[in-house]
Amino acid sequence: MTFELERRALLRMLGLTVAGGATLTDCLKAFAQETDAVAIGWPVDVPAWDPNQRFSPEAQSIFKLVFDSPLNQDPKLDLVPNLITKWELAKDGLSLAVDLRGDVKFHNGDPMTADDFRYTFFERIQGPDKIDTKNSWRKISDIEVVSPTKAVMKFSSPAPTAPQWLAFLGSYVVPKKYMQQVGVEAFQQKPVGSGPYKLVDYQLNARIVLERNDDYWGGKPPIKRVTFEVIKDPSARVAAIQSGQVDLTTNVPVREVTRLQHEPNLAGEINPITRVILLQCRDDQGFADDNVRLAAHHAINKEALSKAFYAGAAVPLSVPVSPDTPGFPSDYKFAYDPALAKSLLAKSGFGPDKPATIGFATTNGQFPSDFDIARAIQQMWKEVGINADLQTIEYSKYFELNRGDKLPEATLYSWDNGTGDPEIFTGYLLNPKLPFSAWKGMDVGAKVLDLFNITDYQTRIDGYKDINKYAVEHGATIPLLQSVQTLVRKKSLSYEKFGNGWVLANTMKWG
C-alpha cells in the first residue's frame, strides 16, 4: 500500500515535471522562434530565381534579401552606395564610371568582382538568356573592366537614368563563374547571390525560407530566419495575421486594416507609396474636345475618393507623379471645381440635359478598390453632365486593347515606380513608343521623347515638372491619387518603412 502511494506520488511528480518541462520548452521555443525568425504573409511568389529574368515590383522585397543591386535606395528613395561605392555619369550621358566594393562574397564563397558586374549588365544582355534586363539595358554597348573593383559602363545613346536603373527592377549582380558553370536552369534551382540572406527552401507558390548570411559584407541582420508564406487571397492573409500564423502581411483591404488596428497585439498601417492611380486618356472620340477632358478632371473630388476608399491616407494628385519625388511640382494644383466643369461642358454644348458620352474602363481587383473608385467617378461625372459607360477589363487586356486602338476614352490605371524618378512616371506613361500611353497626340509625346536625351539632372527634372503640368492642363492625363500600401504586423515587430513600399526583412527586429 505504501509502495502504491509512493509510486503514484512519484508518477504524478514525474508527470508534472514532464508537463512543466514541456511547457517551459514550448515557451522557450516560441520565444526563440519569435526573436530568431519572422514569418511574412506575402501576396505573390517570385517569378523565377534568376533575379534578372522578370520585372516584378512585388518580388523586389524578396530579391533584395538574396541578391545585391549595384546601387541602393534609402527609405526616402535617394540613391545610396551598395556594391558600387562611387559612380559618375559622364556629361554626355554616354558612360558611367563605377567603383565596386572589394569585400563582397557570393553565398558560395566566390568574391564579387567587376567581371561579375560586366557579366550581369553586358554579357547576359548581349547573350541568349531570356531576361527582362535586356530591355532596361538595351543602350549598353560595353562594360570596360579597369580592375576587379573598377568598371566603366558605355552606352550607345545617352542614359541619364542609368544610376536609377542600377537600383531598380532586375538589376542584381549574379555570379558569372557559378552561373556559367551550372547554367540558368540549375541556377534557378539553387540560386547564389551576395545578399544578407541565403535561400534554403523554396516551394513554388507556397513558401520561401531564407537563412541569414553570417558573412554578409553589410553586417548581420537581426533576424536569423525569414519565411515568406505566399498567400494570394487577401482574406486568407487577414486570417493568417489574425491567427498568428504570420507576423506581418501586406496588401490587405483598407477596412481590414482599420479593424485589425483594434487588436491588442497588432499594428495596422496605410502607407502612401510611389504608386499613382490615374486615368489614361485618349485624345479622340468622346475625348477629342479639350473642354470635355478638362471638365472630366475638374468634376472628380479626389479628397472624397481618398476618404471613401483609403481612409484618407491616399494623397490627392494634380500630376501623375507621387509627392516628395523629384518630378513633383509642389506649387501646382488642379482644382476640384464641378461648377467650372459644368461651364466647360456648356461651352462645348453639353450639360446635365444633354450629356457628353464616353467609354470608361476599369480593372476589378488589380489594385485596392479600383472598381469602386471607377463607379464613384462615374457618379461624379454624371452630376456635371458626362455619361460614362463603365466596362471591366483584365489588366492583361489593357495592352491588347491599346495596341488595337480599342481602349475607351478613359481607363483607370495604376502605375508603380520604385525609383521615384519622373522618367519612369511621365516618361513611360505618356511615351508614344511604349505600350502604356492611350494618348497618341505628339504634342505631349514629342516633349516626353526629348527628355530622354537630356543628361543634365536638374534640366531633366525641371523638364518633367513642366511636362507634367502641360499634360494635365491639356487633359492628356487625369491623375487621381497616390496609392497606398496596407500592412499589418505584430506590434512587437518593427521594420524600416521605404517610400516605394519595400518591406525588407533585414531591417526587421523584435522588441
Binding site: A48, D233, S235, A239, Y395, S396, F399, R403, P435
Partner: protein, 339 residues
C-alpha cells in the same frame, strides 16, 4: 476478369485521344480569341511597341489561327508544350511539379465526400417517413447550397482564426522541409519515414479537404438514398425479410451493395467537378497545386500554362472515369457476363 477489362480500357483510350483533340482545339480557339496580348505580357514594362510587334512575330501570333494550332499540335506531339510566358520555364515541369499536390488534395477530398455521403445517405434512408426526415433533408439541402470556397472561408474563420486548431496556409509547418520523391507529400513522408512531416501535411490538408468533401457529399447522400429506396422494392429484399434476416443485415449486406453502383458512377462524375473545385480552394488555402498555378496563369495571360493545365484536368478526369467504369465492371457481375 481481365478479358472484360482490357477491351474497356482499349475503347476508353481511343475515345480519350479523340476527346483530348477536341478539348485542345477548343482551348486553343477560345484562348486565342480572348483580347489579351501574350507578347506584351511576356516582355517587361519598358518594352517598346516595336519590340512587342517583333515578339508577336517570334511567337507566331501574326499567323492565321488554324496554322498556329497545327504548329502547336505538332510541337505537342513531340512532347514540347512550350515555355511559360511568366515563369519562362517549361510548362511541363511546372505542371508536373504541382499536379501531385492537387491529386492528393482531390483524392482525400473525394474520400471524405464518400464517407460523409454514404453515412449521410444511410441516415437519410433510415429516417425516411419519420418526423426527423424533413429536418435532415433540409440539412442536406443546406450543405448542397454552400459552395466549397465558402466552406473554406468558414473553416478558416472557425478552426484557423477563432479556435486556432489547424493551419490553413501551405502544405507544411515552416520548420519542416519537403522530402524529395513523388511529389505526393503524404507518400513521400512515409517513404522517408518522417511521421512528423506526414502529420504536418495531414493537418494542413484537413481544412481544404473537408471544404471540398463536405460540398460534394450531399449529392452522394441523396443519390444513395434514392437508390436504396429503389432497391428496397426489389424481390430479393422481400425474400431476405421472409428468410428472417435483420433489417441491419439486409441494408448493409444486400441493399447497399446494389444501391452503391449508381452512387459509384456519380462519384466518378463528382470527382471531375471536385477536381475543378480545387482551383478556388487552393487559392484560399494557399495550397501550391495546379489550381493556384492556373489562377496565376489566367491573371498573366500565360496561354501555354492554361492550355496544358486545361489538358491535364481533362486527362485526370478521363482516367478517373475509366477507373470508375472498371470498378463498376468489377463490382457488377452482370456487366461482365454481358461483355
Amino acid at each position: 476478369m481481365m478479358s472484360s477489362l482490357l477491351p474497356l480500357i482499349g475503347r476508353r483510350l481511343l475515345v480519350s485521344v479523340l476527346i483530348l483533340l477536341v478539348v485542345s482545339l477548343l482551348l486553343f480557339v477560345v484562348l486565342h480569341a480572348l483580347p489579351v496580348d501574350p507578347a506584351a505580357m511576356s516582355l517587361p514594362p519598358n518594352a517598346t511597341i516595336a519590340e512587342i510587334e517583333a515578339k508577336r512575330k517570334e511567337m507566331g501570333l501574326d499567323l492565321p489561327l488554324p496554322q498556329q494550332y497545327l504548329i502547336w499540335l505538332q510541337q505537342v506531339l513531340h512532347g514540347n508544350f512550350g515555355d511559360s510566358i511568366h515563369y519562362r520555364r517549361s510548362v511541363v515541369g511546372l505542371v508536373t511539379n504541382t499536379l501531385p499536390a492537387t491529386i492528393e488534395l482531390a483524392v482525400l477530398s473525394i474520400a471524405i465526400a464518400a464517407v460523409l455521403g454514404v453515412v449521410g445517405g444511410l441516415v437519410l434512408f433510415h429516417v425516411r417517413g419519420t418526423r426527423e426526415e424533413p429536418v435532415i433533408d433540409f440539412g442536406s439541402i443546406l450543405l448542397l447550397s454552400i459552395p466549397e470556397f465558402l466552406w473554406g472561408l468558414f473553416f478558416i474563420l472557425i478552426f484557423g482564426v477563432a479556435l486556432q486548431w489547424l493551419p490553413f496556409t501551405g502544405r507544411l509547418d515552416p520548420d519542416l522541409r519537403l522530402p524529395h520523391g513523388t511529389g505526393f507529400l503524404l507518400v513521400d513522408a512515409l517513404l522517408a519515414g518522417r511521421l512528423d512531416i506526414f502529420w504536418s501535411a495531414l493537418r494542413h490538408m484537413i481544412l481544404p479537404c473537408f471544404a471540398l468533401g463536405i460540398a460534394f457529399s450531399p449529392t452522394i447522400m441523396r443519390v444513395l438514398r434514392s437508390s436504396l429506396i429503389d432497391v428496397y422494392h426489389e424481390d430479393y429484399i422481400h425474400m431476405a425479410r421472409l428468410r428472417g434476416l435483420s433489417e441491419r443485415r439486409i441494408l448493409l449486406r444486400h441493399a447497399l451493395k446494389n444501391a452503391f453502383l449508381p452512387t459509384l458512377s456519380l462519384m466518378g462524375v463528382q470527382f471531375g467537378f471536385l477536381f475543378g473545385g480545387t482551383l478556388l480552394v487552393e487559392v484560399i488555402f494557399s495550397y501550391p497545386g495546379l489550381g493556384n498555378l492556373m489562377v496565376d496563369a489566367v491573371r498573366n495571360a500565360d496561354l501555354p500554362i492554361i492550355q496544358l493545365v486545361g489538358l491535364a484536368y481533362c486527362v485526370v478526369v478521363l482516367i478517373i472515369n475509366t477507373v470508375v467504369d472498371s470498378l463498376y465492371l468489377l463490382l457488377n457481375p452482370k456487366l461482365r457476363l454481358r461483355s
